[in-house]
Structure formats: C-alpha cells, structure tokens
C-alpha cells in the first residue's frame, strides 16, 4: 500500500517551499538551491504518478529531470562563480544592470 495522495501533497509542499525560496532569497546560491528543491519536487510528483498508474514512465521522467538538473547546476554554478568574480557579491538585487 503506497500513499499516493499524500505523496503528491508532499511534492506540492516541497515545490511551494522552493517557490518561496526563489522569491524570497536574494543570494544567488540559495536561489539555485531552491530551484533544486523545485526540480526535485517535480521529479517526485512524476515518481508518485508512475506508482499510481503502475507505469515506469514516471521514473524515466525523473531520470530526465535528474540529467537536466545536473546540467542546469553545472552551468548555474559556473555563472555564480563568474558573477562573483565580476561583482564581488551574489545579491541578485545588486546585479540588476539588465533593465529596460
């Protein structure tokens, strides 16, 4: 017996926590971590859905999300390093030169 509904709820809760992190935190590093949380939550929703329908596709999607997260983190962290070198800060409000 696998608690499907509760699984979805946990993933939704984790996702919204990630949203809070992205919106509230100003440190770029924390923003990236929050995005990881959101991706993970999305992946979890896939896995739960896969369990609910008894199909392997949910897990396959999780694997793709995993690969995407890895690529995203590698590029994102490289950007963090580069930005820190240029601006000596990770505050996203301070790095706002691209405005209309």
């Amino acid at each position: 017996m696998f608690p499907i509904r509760e699984g979805f709820m946990i993933s939704g809760a984790l996702f919204t926590l990630g949203v809070i992190g992205v919106l509230a935190r100003r440190n770029l590093l924390f923003v990236l971590m929050s995005i990881e949380v959101m991706l993970n939550a999305a992946g979890m929703a896939f896995v739960v859905a896969g369990a609910r329908w008894r199909q392997p596709d949910g897990q396959v999607m999780f694997l793709f999300i995993l690969a995407m997260a890895a690529a995203e983190v590698s590029v994102g962290l490289a950007l963090v390093l580069e930005l820190y070198h240029q601006f000596k800060t990770l505050d996203t409000d301070a790095i706002s030169r691209m405005r209309g």
Partner: protein
C-alpha cells in the same frame, strides 16, 4: 517645299533650347537676333509653304508628314506627324507671322529687362508649342502642344515673378485652364476607347461612320472637348483667368492672350467639327456659350480702368463671337474672325504697350489722356485697331469677319433671333467700350507726361499689323473658298435675312456705340460720371467691374471649401487614428519597459504569479 513643314515648329524649339541653355551668357543683341530670327525663319518657311500649297494644292487637299512613331503600344501608335490642310495652314501662317511681329516688338519693349533671354526662350517655346498644336496629326500631339502653350502662358504671366501677384495670376490661369484640360483629356480617352485611334482624320471618319447623329458617345466626346476649348479660350464659365493674365508683359498679352493661344479652343472645335456636327445639343451649347460670353465680357469691359483689362475682356468677347460662329456651323467664319482678330487685337496690345511704356508703366486709363498729339503713331494704330475691333463698316477687316458671323447666325438652321440679337448687341457694346477707351486715353486733357517715345522696332510691327487690320478682310470670297477645302461648307437655311440687312444692322450698331461713347465721354463727360455715381449705377458698375462676381462666386464655391478641407486635413483627422495606435504602442512599451527592472526576484515573482493564475484558470474552466 512642303517637306520643310517640320522646320516650322522645330526652329523655334531649337532656338528656345539654345536660349534656355546659353541665354544668360549671350549679349542682349545676340539674344534678340536668335529669338526673333528663329521666328522670322519660321514665318518665312510657313509663307513659302503657303505659297506652294496655294499654287499646287495636294490632291487630297492635305499634306501629311510623319517624322517618327512617338509611342507604340498595341494598337495605340500616335506619331510625331504633321497634318497640313487649309485650316492648319491659315492658322500656322497667321500665328508665325504675328508672332514674328510681336517678337520684333519685344526686342525693344523688353530691352534692359533682367530676364531678356528668359523672355525670348519662353516666347520661342510658345511658338513651337502653338505650331505643334496647329499642325498635329493626332490628338495626342495636339494635346502636347496644348499643354505646352499652357505652360508657356503660365511662365509668361508670372514672368515678373518678384511680384507675388503676378505669380498668383499665373497660378490662377494654370489651374483654371487645368479644369478644361482635364475634361479634354477625358474626352481623348473616350474617343480612343470607342474609336480606337487618335489620328484626327481617322477619328473623324470613324465617328461619322460609327456614330449616328445625336448619339450619346458623340455628345459626351464633344462636350468634353468643348470643356477643354472653353478653358483654353477663356469662355464662360472658365473665363476668369484671362483678365488676370494681363499681369504678364504686354507682348505676351498680345501674342498669347489675344492673338494666338486663346483661339486654340476655336481651332480645336473647328478641327473636330465632325464630332460637333454629330452632337447638335453640344453645338448649340457652343453657340450659347459664345453669345453669353460675348455679352458678359462686353459689359465687364465697359467698367474696367486698366487699359489691358479692357482689351482682355474684349478678347473674351471676340472669342465669344468665334464660338457663336462655330455653334451655328459657320466654321469658316470663325476662322476668318480668328485671323482678323489676331491682327487687330495684337495691334491693339502693341499700341497699348507703347502707351504704357511711354507713361512709366501706367495702366489706369483715367490717368492717361490727350495722347493723340503726344504719341501720334500709337494713336493712329490704336484707332485703326479699335475701328477693326468695333467693326467700322466697309474699310476694316473686323467688320467683314464679324458681319460674316452675324449673317451666318441669321441664316443658320441652328441660329435664331436670340443669338442674332446678342451678336448685334455685342457690336454696340464693343463699339461703345472701344471708343470709350480711345476717347479717354487719347483725347481730353493730358494727365501724365510722356517720358519715352517708341523706337522703330515697336512702330514697324504696329504699322504692319495696322495695315493688315484694314486689308485682312477684303478678300473674303477666296478665303472662304480656301477654307472650304478643309472645313464643311456652311449650310444655309432657306428664308433667312439677306446679307445687306445684317450688314446694315452691324453698321448701325457700330455707329450707335460710337455715338454713345462720344456723347458720354467727349461731349458730356459728366454724364458717365453721373451714371456711375448713382446707387444703381454704382452697384452695376461694381458688378460688372468684378466680372459679374464670377471670381467671388468661384471663391465661395470652390476655393474656400478646398482651402477649408486642406486646413482641416492639415490637422490630420484620419492620421489621428494612426497616431493613436502609435501612442498606444508607445504606452505599452513604457509599461513593459517599466517591468524590466533587472531584478531577478521580480521576474520570478511574475512567473510564480502567472503560474498561480494559469493554474486557477485551468482549475475553474
């Protein structure tokens, strides 16, 4: 010798080009030699051609010279081709010869003017265009000449362009004649569309064979061509430009606005007489327009102060006679009157020019006076011209031509007592205003001192024209015989008046006008002042002086609405829609631009908000 025909327009054209390009670098004497010499050669050639033509007329009565094909589009193949028959021959000889005399006169009249070479370039271009118009084999080439003379007219009216009024007069002439020209262009479209050619002779044959008399196509085409003729010949209702055209130099007025160009409408109608014969209502309209114009212009001429404006109104009035003749089918009479009119009206303008120059460019006739002894040449030539204009019986050309017209009106099936009465009333008016002019200008007290006496170059052309004004009408019979080879014979209605009766009537009318003028301006000058002084007279005077309020009427009817529309359109009512679109786009840009804060959290918040809203929509829809 007829092969030299192409040189008649080509030489003035070449000379105009030469003067336009080299003129400013030539000395005045050189300009005069080139400008006048080219017209002299042209006139000489046309005289030689006339001699050849009269001596050995071509078998068909006409000579065609095709130089090259102008345009070749499908079945539309107008050529640069000239067509010489008795009609175009007479017109060409008169135009080139009178042009030559006026050019000769201009050599002295324009001396010292800043635009000496410019003047001669324009005048030569005018002669070239006019001859092209007259000799054109097809209506398109005729139209080219037609527009060419219109252009030269515009350029010469505004010749002294430093004065804004002259430029405005030129513009007025151009725009008003444009109305007629547009009608004429549409007429050409109608003709080509229906008959498939623009060659005048082919066109006439085709019209005769394809259209029954009174067919609507013939009426439309003839009416449209009449529109063009009315514009160019300053007839009712497009006559308002001609009096203002007197802003140009006096030789211009003599050549373009009296002797030649303004009669182009008469020529056009005579040339396309078949169309008008096929459209009796339009032909009757020609007669009515002519009669109305000759009376209206006659009354207007009575009240003018400017010597040139009097002559301008008399020109309108005399062309009205020509239209009257055309309207009753007396084609030859119209051309006859054109010829004599060219002589005496050019003469009158040249004599007036002598007076004007002698009195420091004074135009007001009431500041002239007593010039009979001061300027005897001007007096005698003006008197001869005036007599010819008014129609002094038996010894002047104008009498014969006008008498012929009156007789034709009386004896034509299209004529009638109304038209005849208008014509005879016109003779009284003509005589009255002509002698009013002569008595005021040349008799009475001296008002302004004479400062300049005419030289030989001004006197000789005037004398030659005076001679022609007298003898030009003597050989009426052979002239008619000549024209009858090119124009339809005048069809006499049975039971009309005898020639003697109309002659006597015309002669009596002349003397009535003369006596009235003598009594009102020489014998008892207070009478004319009293007539102009009382309220009714003053009102009538103002009414006639302003050309029957036509300018005022057109101002209200056309100019004000157009100016209003233009100024309304300047505010761009329609554009405001597009301006609104543009400013809406700018507003959107401002709003969107304001959202581009560069702050990452701001963007993230928008994405989050968007997903919240999207999810809500998905859920509840």
């Amino acid at each position: 010798m007829l092969a030299l025909l192409w040189l008649v327009p080509a030489i003035p054209f070449a000379s105009a080009l030469a003067l336009a390009v080299l003129g400013p670098r030539m000395r005045a004497r050189g300009v005069a030699v080139v400008g006048t010499g080219s017209i002299a050669i042209s006139a000489a050639i046309s005289l030689v051609i006339a001699g050849t033509f009269l001596g050995a007329p071509p078998a068909s009565g006409a000579y065609t010279q095709t130089l090259w094909t102008w345009i070749d589009v499908g079945s539309f193949r107008p050529g640069i081709a000239f067509y010489l028959d008795a009609l175009s021959l007479v017109m060409t000889v008169v135009v080139t010869f009178v042009s030559f005399l006026i050019h000769l006169y201009s050599v002295e009249f324009m001396r010292g003017d800043e635009g000496y070479s410019r003047f001669f370039a324009y005048m030569n271009l005018f002669v070239a265009s006019m001859v092209t118009l007259l000799l054109a084999d097809n209506l398109l080439l005729l139209y080219l000449g037609w527009e060419g003379v219109g252009l030269c007219s515009y350029l010469l009216i505004g010749f002294w362009y430093q004065d804004a009024a002259n430029g405005l007069a030129g513009r007025k002439a151009f725009i008003v004649t444009r109305v007629g020209d547009t009608a004429m262009a549409v007429g050409l479209f109608v003709l080509f569309h229906n008959l498939g050619t623009l060659r005048i002779q082919d066109l006439m044959h085709a019209a005769q064979s394809q259209w029954p008399a009174g067919s609507s196509y013939a009426i439309a085409a003839a009416a449209l061509l009449l529109g063009g003729a009315v514009g160019k010949s300053a007839q009712l209702p497009l006559q308002t430009w001609l009096p203002d055209a007197m802003a140009g130099p006096t030789p211009t007025s003599a050549l373009i606005h009296a002797a030649t160009m303004v009669t182009a409408g008469v020529y056009l109608i005579a040339r396309t007489n078949v169309l008008f014969t096929l459209a009796p209502p339009v032909q009757f309209a020609v007669a009515v327009v002519g009669a109305a114009t000759l009376l209206m212009a006659g009354f207007s001429a009575l009240t003018q102060n400017d010597i040139k404006r009097v002559l301008a109104y008399s020109t309108i009035s005399q062309i009205g006679y020509m239209f009257l003749a055309l309207g009753v089918g007396a084609w030859g009479a119209a051309i006859f009157h054109f010829m004599t009119h060219a002589f005496f009206k050019a003469l009158l303008f040249l004599a007036a020019g002598i007076v004007i120059e002698a009195l420091h460019h004074e135009h007001n006739i009431f500041r002239m006076g007593g010039l009979r002894t001061e300027l005897p040449v001007a007096f005698w030539t003006f008197l001869i011209g005036g007599c010819a204009l008014a129609g002094l019986p038996l010894i002047t050309a104008g009498y014969f031509s006008k008498d012929l017209i009156l007789w034709s009106v009386a004896n034509s099936p299209a004529g009638g007592m109304g038209l005849l009465a208008a014509g005879i009333a016109g003779v009284v008016l003509t005589s009255f205003y002509t002698f009013r002019l002569i008595f005021v200008v040349f008799f009475g007290r001296i008002e302004t001192a004479v400062s300049h006496r005419p030289g030989l170059a001004m006197v000789v052309p005037a004398c030659i024209l005076a001679f022609l004004s007298v003898v030009g009408g003597f050989d009426k019979a052979s002239f008619e015989a000549l024209l009858n080879t090119a124009l339809p014979h005048f069809r006499e209605a049975g039971g009309g008046m005898s020639e003697a009766l109309t002659s006597v009537a015309a002669g009596l009318a002349f003397f009535a006008g003369l006596l009235a003028a003598w009594y009102a301006y020489l014998r008892n000058p207070s009478l004319s002042r009293a007539a102009a002084g009382n309220p009714a007279g003053r009102l009538l005077h103002r009414f006639w002086f302003s050309d029957w309020g036509m300018d005022w009427f057109y101002d209200r009817l056309f100019i004000r609405p157009v100016v209003w529309a233009a100024s309304a359109s300047k505010a761009d009512i329609v554009d405001s829609i597009y301006d609104g679109l543009a400013s809406a786009a700018v507003l959107c840009y401002r709003i969107l631009s304001a959202t581009e804060t560069g702050k990452l959290r701001w963007y993230a918040a928008w994405i989050a908000g968007g997903s919240v809203v999207t999810l809500a929509i998905v859920m509840w829809l």
